[in-house]
Subunit: 521 residues, 2 copies
């Protein structure tokens, strides 16, 4: 396999701006420009500014950068996290795609499967009342304590499935989340819990995350003061080498390893414990099945049959050819209210890099800024800029035929779910085609590119496929750009300086002066 | 007053990129580069790439564009919303800054004051149990139904004050929000409420907002099915000419007028009813007092004494000279978790425009993309790109000396609030100064500009000042760019096309084909 910088490929110099006529967006194009995805989802790229010449170039780029071969190398356990000298095995959490991965004599897939079985049984036992709080009360609330990937992904997935679970009658424990080191975060969540009936899931791969350890002490203090035994109210998710592992201070511990990056950990115990407690083990395993199916779809070399690959390459076109520095994620589903925040981490932490996988500076743009809010809410907010601002922002829409709860009301001849979908469709066309008007203030230039991922209803299986789609999209983009998408050295300097401030001996007069402003004595 | 396009000013051609040495960020600079703000807040611009030559240019720009004079014109009721031929009077909600504004014989300030008095008394009556639900139960929950400015600002402010109110013992009604036309949104919120004890605040200036009317029918249906009288459970906030006004279907109606734009309406009844019900009238009036004080501070012509003006002009420098197309808002306060979403609307809907106040196309960049999440959460997410991505993103930090609840725990020699502040400070310096390293992957270029707004503790008064700061910042930027920051024609095309889709006769084959994909029959 050849790892070369994007601008050293033969295809790179052929990537120049082509004109695209957005008024060609008609029924035939909409019906034709669709790639089937896992779990019944589909990816529509009709409103993206690409036709056969651009797609041929993007296919050539995919082939030249050996994207599918490199994806297979990831699946087979090559050391693709070059900075940290680690394998990248989150796909293996969902199932075996390639051949078994053996590391130092250990079958990693079997290890992941064993942990899945362990926390599935744990969830069963809590839900059945076989594991209870220290005063014998059945546990009704789970509070996840973690930050970054231990928070954003699991929280987004929990919110995405709450309504589904209510409709299906499978909502077991209510989940809450504590992430920030801001003491008001933990204090507020704890004030809303009946501690006797609460189980905490403490999540830190290293077992040394400053925020999470501070919040652990915070809750232990509250549990103790309430006369409860913390060891009966806390389970840990960590690596086997961390101080949280095999520790009698916890009810139980569930393990991941260094081959699971934080932002890729939602399908490990990091997401699995809280989601299994909340919605049952079957729901979480359906989510894994959807993700696994999407992982298999991503092996297809033809970009017109591989949604994650095509989405990635169109994103490269927008970033490096059209030179658009951002992407908006716009799910028309309130359940996906925090999914953009998860994708923001996934994308910006993976590909927000200015050195290649060998640590050498590169001279082309990499990961864009990602932001988004659910529609229709965003329409009444930042869409003004998207329609009529001075810059173009590429858009990624997501929508579903049915609501999750099926509870709806007809007003003016249509139910709310139909209105929601009508708004989504209208936006795609409005962004693409615009509208001329003699009054410049009422004119819309159109030519705003967008894609649409659509499906029947947001279920665990569909959610798993959606999650995996974006993980694989980001992976393919990182491979095009010849990045290591799996480390995050950019978080380190802040940690070092924070410790210096807290030590009282920062060695930097600006830090000292800012400390005075903020009353750090 | 002369209204001219930014690129026609004399100052414009002098605005060229200057070099700036971020290593000059030392104690002296930190202590010197501070502008006092209202309510004890302060604006630190030490880590922004401006010194005397740049500041002289920005002062010249402020003077040439007559920013303070135009702000005074707004205060005095000139027709500054040129597109809709309306005055812009949200400042008047907080108090009289200029002379009284009379419109068609009506004293508008007196009208706003009257409505404030009316909904303050209403909140008192609900809290005292003098207004009750239709079965005689005391009302314990308020659900705001509104979208865009009727949701984002009030929701952000509610979340910002929940912990403060809990600590002060002034948390009366619990508030929830329904915004999206997605039926799962309303269904989920309603399922979490005891309807007998719930009051709804229905907010739509025009009384014709599709989402809000659909949700009104949704809740009325549920109330009726629960055997309750909807007219005893709903209050309206609207304009006097709307179908919701003077309507016996509601407990009461509170009024705003066309001079209050949605994204500027948090300090009107749109935010005032729900916040007064939740936290008491005194808290909301303190918020108004903080905003009023900030409005007065914004009259200062010297940019080094006017934080909103300086913040605006530095933003223009970053946008039009450094050509940076985005801004991140990073509050180190979990209470401000949704404040960035409010600012996203405020900024992007106000200044996401490509025509000037007369509707003529302009050829310079205007409003940036705004996004953000609270620290320290963001550090474990998208900060990777901010530190080590290929593009620079200007940053706006916010932080407080004290937490809101005062409930904290010491770990490793410091409480969580101190850790929170130490992280904030460390980030400012890390972003500015970076770190050299022989390993490119561990190198930080620094040179990332940031500002810091800081204060003692987030109270209603401080929150009002913070809100007004950003409103006035956005206003000043719009005036520099010669925009009308107070209309939003960009939302119209989507509404028109949505109605076409719902009519079943869209007249566009792409709309029809997308309708098929999403199962709209």
């Amino acid at each position: 396999m050849r790892y070369i910088d994007f601008d050293k490929t033969n295809t790179y110099r052929k990537l120049v701006v082509h004109s695209f006529d957005y008024t060609t967006l008609n029924a035939e194009r909409v019906r034709h420009c669709v790639v089937p995805m896992a779990a019944g989802l589909a990816y529509s790229w009709a409103a993206k500014p690409v036709e056969k010449p651009e797609l041929d170039l993007l296919q050539a780029l995919a082939d030249e950068q050996e994207l599918i071969g490199k994806y297979q190398a990831i699946l087979e356990g090559e050391t693709m996290n070059t900075g940290e000298n680690r394998k990248v095995l989150h796909h293996l959490l969902r199932g075996q795609v390639g051949k078994p991965v053996i590391h130092e004599g250990k079958n990693i897939g079997a290890f992941y499967r064993q942990e899945l079985d362990r926390f599935s049984a744990f969830a069963d036992a809590v839900q059945a009342g076989n594991i209870r709080g220290s005063t014998g009360k059945v546990l009704s609330t789970v509070v996840q304590i973690g930050i970054g990937g231990s928070d954003l992904g699991p929280r987004a997935l929990y919110l995405a499935l709450e309504n589904w679970a209510a409709a299906e009658g499978t909502h077991h424990l209510k989940a809450k989340f504590i992430s920030n080191v801001d003491p008001d975060d933990a204090s507020q969540v704890l004030a809303s819990c009946n501690l006797e009936e609460t189980i905490f899931v403490l999540v830190s791969k290293s077992g040394t995350t400053q925020e999470t350890l501070a919040n652990e002490l915070f809750i232990k203090d509250k549990l103790t003061k309430a006369g409860l035994d913390p060891s009966k109210h806390i389970a840990a998710v960590t690596s086997e080498t961390s101080p949280l592992a095999h520790n009698p201070a916890y009810l139980d511990s569930f393990y991941i390893d260094d081959f699971i990056g934080g932002r890729y950990s939602s399908t490990s115990a990091v997401g699995g414990v809280v989601l299994s407690l909340a919605f049952g083990k079957a729901a979480f395993q359906d989510l894994l099945a959807g993700a696994h199916e999407a992982d298999q779809c991503a092996l297809e070399p033809d970009i017109l049959k591989n949604a994650a690959l095509l989405d990635a390459l169109i994103g490269v076109w927008e970033r490096n050819v059209l030179r658009l520095p951002y992407t908006a994620v716009l799910p028309y589903s309130q359940a996906l209210s925090r999914f953009p925040a998860h994708l923001q981490q996934l994308d910006m932490e993976s590909n927000g890099k200015r050195v290649n996988r060998n640590g050498e500076p590169i001279s082309y743009s990499t990961g864009p800024v990602v932001f988004g809010e659910p529609g229709t809410n965003g329409q009444h907010s930042f869409y003004q800029l998207l329609h009529q601002g001075t810059d173009r922002v590429p858009l990624q829409f997501v929508g579903f035929t049915e609501s999750q709860r099926g509870d709806d009301v007809a007003v003016d001849g249509s139910v709310s779910q139909t209105k929601l979908k009508a708004n989504l469709i209208a936006q795609i066309v409005a962004f693409a085609k615009g509208k001329t008007d003699a009054n410049g203030n009422k004119e819309f230039l159109g030519t705003r590119p967008s894609s649409l991922i659509y499906g029947k209803r947001l279920t665990p299986r569909v959610l798993g496929a959606l999650l995996s789609h974006f993980e694989n999209k980001v992976m393919f983009q990182g491979l095009v750009w010849n990045l290591n998408s799996f480390d995050q050295e950019g978080v380190q300097l802040g940690k070092v300086l924070t410790r210096k401030v807290l030590s009282g001996n920062s060695g930097d007069s600006a830090l000292d002066a800012y400390s005075e402003l903020l009353g750090i004595s």
